[in-house]
Amino acid sequence: MISAYWMPVYKYVRIRWGKPIDDAKDLTQGFFLEAMEKDFFRKFDPGKARFRTFLRTCLDGYISNEEKSASRLKRGGDVQFSSLDFGDAENGIGAAPETQARSTEEFFEQEWRRSVFNLSLDLFQSRLVEQGKQVHFKLFEVYVLDGLEDGRRVKYEDLAREFGLTAGTVTNYLAAARRDFRRAVFDKLRELTVTEDEFRREARALLGVDPE
């Protein structure tokens, strides 16, 4: 759960609360530490609200309290979550000026999507590598993530030439990769949700599709 939400939380603290880097790191780690110690995510009821909304409400409360007591260093500053790479999070902040224009709700939603897709891509990649399908992943990565600046798509023929495959093979590999990627996203979402209903709602929010 922390792996999916720490980055949205960190960026939220940095941008929406306007905290400097070090304070934001401390607050992010302190927040998750307190959440685990007090186990307050258990209070979440998927029937009442989305987890993101619940988490953001908890976070706002936590930061307000920390500001009042000015004790964040005692709570979080001396704690390190080794897996949290704040440098990556900072790259994202600098590269996304459009986030400033979003409402708080939209901002957190988009950061959550970014985080889930990142984790899903990692899962998707590791599965394909395990199966010896590195080419599938590389094809998918190039096809989807290349040419973003000018909005152009790489052509199948160009991919075929670059990878030494036939256009038909590229089509088949990409079709299979899409299915695997979708499965990875759904699996990741299942880890992050409690009930089937919540899972379906989140799938629709993320992809606009109903999980099969």
């Binding site: 990556d88 790259n91 996304a96 891509l121 989807v144 973003l148 798509r153 899409r178 992809l207 109903d210």
Partner: protein
């Protein structure tokens, strides 16, 4: 961890929501367009090894959405005409989404074509073909209701195709048994009401009925007549398409859609004096807000265009004597010049003999 920009997220969503065609003979290549009800993809029919246009219903959907899209396929299948893209196949995916495939048209949208093709006669001939297609649909009891340059394709061989019949309506008379049902509540989206919120027609069947959208605007702003804009379904008929044809013609003449004004006056750009008065009159007659003042049919609009191209008088404009003479001279320029040359030569010969 990689940084995913917003554009990258959009692409990933697009890939993930791309329909799973594994149980079918089709393989998706890329998305090429989006209608109200579904997305259109360029796909390959692996059995016949040819490219097709594949339209798949959007998710999430209801049974009603699925039925409407099936109806769109039936409408297209029913309209066999060179100006309407033929449908190849219809089916259902494992997740319940319906899809159909059509001939893939390798061409340009009319708005793109109009920016390239500057010859007015060529554009008018193209427009005449559109009128013929719409007239054919009308004669089969179907009105399109979303005619606009973006829904018309000009193919590589000059063929003109009217696309996107997603919000078409079957008229009651002479329709071969299509039925109607009571109004349903619909929502407007992005200024353009989409097919998935409309669904006007249905083939008769034991449980099927026709859904209407009384009180709700269906179609695209700028190209929509008032009766459509105000959702007066009972008044939407062939003349509604005549209005849209006028708006398409206006686009071809001035490069943009007609401006919406609260009064009844159609505004022409003051800088554009190149459009002839007769063409303006034809266009204006299509775009009358009062339905009874418009041309009676798309066929009549097409005939007017032919009359204009042939240098004949058009019904929409009463010429004075000078205009009639000017048009006659312009149309008969070659024989008039030949006669004048002949007379001049005779005069020269006559003068030469007299001397």
């Amino acid at each position: 961890m990689r940084f995913l920009s917003d554009a990258a997220i959009e692409r990933l969503v697009e890939e993930a929501e791309s329909p799973d065609m594994s149980g079918t003979r089709y393989r998706i290549i890329q998305a090429i367009g989006e209608g109200g009800m579904g997305k259109v993809y360029l796909a390959v029919d692996t059995r016949l090894n040819r490219q097709v246009a594949l339209k798949v219903l959007n998710l999430p959907f209801t049974d009603e959405h699925a039925r409407r899209m099936a109806t769109e396929a039936q409408v297209i299948a029913r309209l066999e005409h060179p100006g309407i893209v033929p449908i190849h196949d219809f089916g259902k995916l494992e997740d319940g989404r319906v899809f159909f495939t059509m001939k893939f048209v390798d061409g340009r949208r009319l708005d793109q074509y109009a920016r390239m093709e500057t010859s007015l006669p060529a554009l008018l001939r193209c427009f005449h073909k559109i009128c013929e297609t719409v007239s054919f649909a009308h004669s089969n009891g179907v009105i399109h209701r979303d005619l606009k340059p973006e829904n018309i394709m000009v193919g590589a061989f000059g063929e003109v195709l009217v696309m996107d019949w997603g919000i078409s309506k079957i008229l009651a008379e002479g329709t071969g048994g299509f039925e109607r049902r009571e109004p349903a509540d619909r929502a407007r989206r992005n200024g353009v009401l989409s097919g998935d919120e409309q669904g006007e027609v249905s083939q008769p069947g034991p449980t099927e009925e026709l859904v209407t959208g009384e009180g709700v605007a269906l179609g695209t702003a700028f190209y929509m007549p008032p009766e459509q804009e105000q959702g007066r379904l009972d008044q939407q008929n062939r003349s509604s398409d005549v209005y849209a044809l006028g708006a398409v013609m206006y686009f071809l003449l001035v490069g943009g859609p007609p401006e919406r004004r609260p009064d009844t006056t159609l505004k022409w750009p003051s800088s554009d004096s190149s459009v002839s008065t007769r063409l303006k009159a034809i266009c204006t007659m299509c775009l009358f807000l009062d339905q009874s003042s418009r041309y009676e049919s798309a066929e009549e609009v097409g005939r007017e265009i032919l009359r204009y191209l042939d240098g004949e008088p058009v019904k929409a404009y009463k010429e004075n004597l000078a205009e009639r003479a000017g048009r006659w001279l312009k149309h008969n320029r070659v024989p008039v010049l030949l006669v004048l040359a002949y007379l001049l030569m005779r005069a020269i010969v006559f003068l030469f003999i007299r001397r």
